[in-house]
């Protein structure tokens, strides 16, 4: 699977999570269940690709998201997605993660990502809510959406990244 295909699929996901998901999420939960499909994809690339790819994809799509949805701060997702993706890769790219392993890692990484965003916003005084409230209000409910998404697309995405890795290694040998 070429890099172009991966970027194209992630772009499609980016538009889906901004424009389609607000309609799919039931009324009343719009600000509680928040999709982070791009981030889940970055984590997959860290688990089944390599850490540099995760860093590049995370930083690139993070910056895209920052610019397109610019409210008060630029560079938050750029930094958070890139660095969390990279360190997931550092920890786990040598092991072949199983389904349970991957889902657990994605779950913890999502909590870490939301927490990091929340505290950066709190440092700059853009939000004044307490962390306990944020955890119950949106971090945990949206975690379930992310996990469900990760489970649904686990098999095709893993195959996609692993086939890329194999062809990449073969290419280097040749």
């Amino acid at each position: 699977m070429s890099m172009n295909r991966i970027v194209a699929i992630m772009l499609l996901l980016f538009f889906i999570e901004g424009s389609l998901m607000p309609w799919i999420i039931p009324e009343g939960y719009g600000s509680r269940i928040i999709p982070h499909f791009i981030f889940v994809f970055v984590l997959f690339s860290a688990l089944y690709g390599n850490r540099h790819m995760a860093l590049l994809l995370g930083a690139g799509f993070g910056l895209l998201q920052d610019v397109v949805y610019f409210g008060q701060l630029l560079g938050l997702n750029f930094f958070a997605m890139g660095i969390i993706g990279y360190f997931t890769g550092v920890l786990l790219e040598r092991k072949r993660a199983t389904v349970m392993m991957a889902i657990t890692v994605i779950g913890f990484a999502c909590i870490l990502y939301d927490t990091a965003l929340f505290f950066i916003y709190q440092v700059f005084r853009i939000t004044s809510a307490s962390y306990a409230w944020a955890l119950l209000n949106h971090i945990l409910p949206s975690l379930f959406l992310q996990l469900a998404f990760a489970l649904v697309c686990y098999v095709p995405v893993r195959r996609m990244f692993e086939s890329r890795k194999e062809t990449g290694e073969n290419g280097e040998e040749e």
């Binding site: 538009f15 901004g18 424009s19 719009g30 600000s31 949805y69 610019f70 630029l74 965003l117």
Partner: protein, 294 residues
């Protein structure tokens, strides 16, 4: 020299530090008081906005179709209610015409300037929402009208139900809306809203200062001691302060209590707008700003 060598060998830490400095620099840049976006930002936003509207609109139509089917049963009752409203409207329209004519005559007699006369002539531009940010702390929305259509920064945005927010940045073909739920006294970017009560516009006054996310209510402060504000009253913008046009509905008063120093009252206001499944919004264009536009 050896120290430097060791430092360079630890490339990961080095790159992390550079990344961190870059991050702080970008945040500092975005926090500075910018009048306009830079051109790469405009280009990216316009391009993605162009693609996003292919997704958002059809999804809205499909969702709307299912909601319509659900609403079929209520159509009869709604029709009855609308008929009585129309009758009341026709009665009021006659009265309104008389009062309007009188008002114009008085303005003429009192020698109002052209600018004063047009102060409250608002123009409503219909816009489609094309995407909503997937960040819980920053629920910025994008609409499909931009500076080419006459949208400017700091214009108010409403729906049929009530105030949605403020245009925070504009590109040639899209505009970003900061919803009223981001209203915060300590935030450097969002202004407070001066508000009053529908039906007693000259007697009641308060300032909407911050939105409490935990209770989902807006805090209204600096209400006078002998203000006759009651629970259940409709809060509208007063138009004082210049940023928000007057007469936009915001919500209803839920509680009223004595404020921090005991001299003024505070009230909590429940928003009239529902921010989920927003499809069409109106951007309020004040007549004076239209004249200033080239």
């Amino acid at each position: 020299m050896i120290g430097l060598f060791n430092f360079m060998r630890n490339k990961r830490v080095f790159m992390l530090m550079i990344g961190f400095i870059l991050f702080i620099a970008i945040i500092g840049f975005s926090l500075s008081d910018r009048k306009e976006l830079t051109w790469p930002e405009k280009f990216l936003k316009d391009t993605s906005g162009f693609v996003q509207q292919w997704f958002y609109k059809p999804a809205g139509y499909i969702a709307g179709f299912f909601e319509d089917i659900r609403d079929f049963r209520m159509i009869y009752e709604e029709n009855e209610r609308l008929k009585s409203t129309v009758a009341a409207y026709a009665r009021d329209k006659v009265e309104y015409n008389f009062i309007k004519k009188d008002n114009e005559r008085y303005k003429e007699l009192l020698g109002f300037s052209e600018q004063q006369k047009q102060m409250y002539d608002y123009n409503y531009l219909i816009a489609q929402v094309i995407s909503i940010s997937n960040d819980a702390n920053n629920r910025t929305m994008t609409i499909n009208l931009g500076s080419k259509h006459g949208i400017e920064k700091n214009m108010a945005v409403t729906t049929v139900d009530g105030l949605v927010g403020l245009v925070s940045s504009v590109t040639p073909f899209t505009a970003a809306i900061t919803p009223i739920t981001e209203l915060n006294e300590t935030s450097p970017t969002f202004n407070s809203i001066s508000a009053t009560i529908e039906g007693r516009e000259n007697e009641s006054f308060g300032i909407l200062s911050s939105f409490n996310k935990e209770t989902n209510r807006i805090l209204m402060t600096r209400i006078g001691e002998n203000d006759k504000m009651e629970i259940g009253d409709t809060v509208i913008t007063s138009g004082l302060g210049g940023v928000y046009p007057r007469g936009l509905r915001i919500g209803t008063v839920e509680t009223k209590q004595v404020g921090d120093f005991g001299l003024t009252y505070t009230a909590s206001v429940k928003l009239a707008t529902n921010f989920d499944h927003l499809a069409e919004v109106f951007v309020v264009q004040a007549a004076s700003s239209e004249e200033n536009a080239p």
